[in-house]
């Protein structure tokens, strides 16, 4: 597969639903063999963007092209396999019957055995859809998206509502695909998921792309780790500690954002040995949204 071929091209797309601006001048492009995670809160515009790629929405302005074709046209549909949010399949058909039918829509489908293997469904092929667990059902939806061997796979929140084990199994499916050179675009709430899978992260906030790059670069931009602890003296100050770039006080609960947790924690424990309940964790996506929406508000206030 040609690694430099641009498969998805979105140029300056805006879309409003009534007064709500769902997308504001979004541009992006995707090449073969890339895995991209589209991150954002509910209502950030992730599904709207996916719907534009599928031709289910048309942009108010700007343009979208799928391997040179209009989204939703027959050649574009041959190029994309999609797992839409919260779709349920007819329940009385078996996994195999569903996959056989969808494979027939495509000109060079995978073999049934291959599809079942990639989706981890070989053992379940004769089960009816209704007899599957949530994670297994999700894998069947995934299987019908990939059975035609399309060069692009779109996954709209593929792991919502799955338990940890099912989610990891699902990630393995996506890694298997990437190894075969498929271009994968997935939307998610979980930074962890983007971390585990994506070469690149697009962060959407209120219909705008606010960050594009690796998930590492996103975390760096957000400033690393969050350190939380309880300290009884409310007059104590922590801003001077090494690598700290943000401090929040909530009564005796203190929260530091640190670029280097090890340095900060060492100094912290030396200088304040009586603190308790110390935890250190990854800066979360939630922090990213707070970070970006605070910036947003500042912009609005300045304007």
């Amino acid at each position: 597969m040609n690694q430099n071929k641009t498969l998805i091209k979105v140029e300056n797309v805006s879309k409003s639903f009534g007064d709500i601006k769902a997308l504001r001048g979004v541009s992006m492009s995707l090449q073969a063999g890339q895995v991209i995670a589209l991150l954002g809160e509910n209502g950030a515009g992730k599904t709207t963007l996916i719907n534009h790629l599928l031709g289910r929405e048309t942009p108010d302005s700007g343009s979208v092209s799928i391997a040179g074709h209009t989204p939703g046209s027959y050649p574009a549909r041959q190029t994309i396999g999609a797992v839409l949010q919260s779709a349920a399949m007819p329940e009385t058909l078996t996994v195999k019957e569903h996959i056989e039918l969808f494979s027939s829509y495509y000109s060079s489908p995978r073999t049934l055995t291959n599809t079942l293997e990639i989706a981890g469904l070989t053992e379940l092929q004769n089960r009816k859809f209704k007899a599957l667990s949530g994670g297994q059902k999700q894998r069947v939806l995934f299987a019908i998206a990939i059975c035609g061997q399309p060069p692009i796979i779109l996954l709209d929140e593929p792991t919502v509502g799955l338990d940890v084990q099912s989610r990891r199994q699902f990630w393995q499916c996506i890694r298997n695909l990437r190894e075969q050179g498929t271009c994968v675009l997935l939307t998610t709430h979980y930074l962890e998921e983007a971390d585990a899978l994506a070469d690149q992260v697009l962060l959407l906030n209120k219909g705008e792309i606010v960050h594009q790059g690796s998930s590492e670069s996103l975390k760096q931009r957000l400033g690393g780790k969050r350190i939380r602890f309880t300290y009884s003296d409310p007059t104590a100050a922590f801003e001077h500690l090494p690598a700290v770039n943000h401090v929040m006080y909530r009564g005796s609960q203190i929260e530091l954002i640190s670029e280097c947790a090890e340095e900060t924690a060492t100094a912290l424990l030396t200088q304040y040995p009586t603190l308790s309940d110390l935890t250190i964790e990854q800066v979360s996506l939630e922090d990213a949204f707070i970070h970006f929406s605070v910036k947003d508000n500042d912009k609005e206030l300045a304007a």
């Binding site: 289910r56 391997a67 050649p75 041959q78 999609a82 919260s86 007819p90 039918l101 829509y105 035609g148």
Partner: protein, 258 residues
Amino acid sequence: MISQINSMRQSVSLSNILWLETRNEILKTFRMPAFVIPSLIFPVMFYVFFGVLFNQSGADGNMSHYLIATYGVFGIMGPALFSFGVGVAVEKDQGWFAVKRCSPMPISAYFISRILTSMIFGLIIVLELFIIGAVFGDVVLTRSQWILTLVSLLLGTLPFCVLGLWIGLTIKGQAAPAIVNLIYLPMAFLSGLWIPLGVFPEFMQNVAWIFPAFHLSQMVLSIQGLSLGFDLIWHLLSLVTMSAIAWLLAARAFNKHA
């Protein structure tokens, strides 16, 4: 890439798609006993009661002949209205219709498979009626009358498929079974499918003209010379017009979901 996709189109086998789509549709339907059993049994059961056991009075002693035509219409209406009305409404609400439309499925395959499934279902019901009518109901028809009745009934599923499609694309999946029954059962009664229309007051005989089931039943009855006697062309025109209107409404609803 473009030439690659053009060659893709050529190598997709439409007949294979249609076969698998229809196979799945049939399996899906026949694996729902709550739907299959009443659909296959009710028309025949009613026919046994009213056409065979209590057929001495009414319709000038032709009750078993009359009812074989009208229960035939009743029998083919059900699968068509439910497959499209309820089936499409449910799949639309579950997001399954959207998944299929985002795939390279030819949309015609979706509809043709449902039409064929409804017809196969209807065929079983009509053959059941024929056997019971001929063996127990003393129904005597010429070979061409049997064939003509069967063919008219099978073609007669089409208007109800279109009507069902419009309903299915318009209403919510949860409400669909109730709404389809609210159309199906009163229409069957008021079109004279259960009791010959001649027994009804004149006002109700006139009302029957708004129902496609009335027109189809009159066309099928005319094969045995048991219709009310209006020119066939009026019934055919009415059916075609009603189907066309339902088709336009369905197309409008379909585009709304695009």
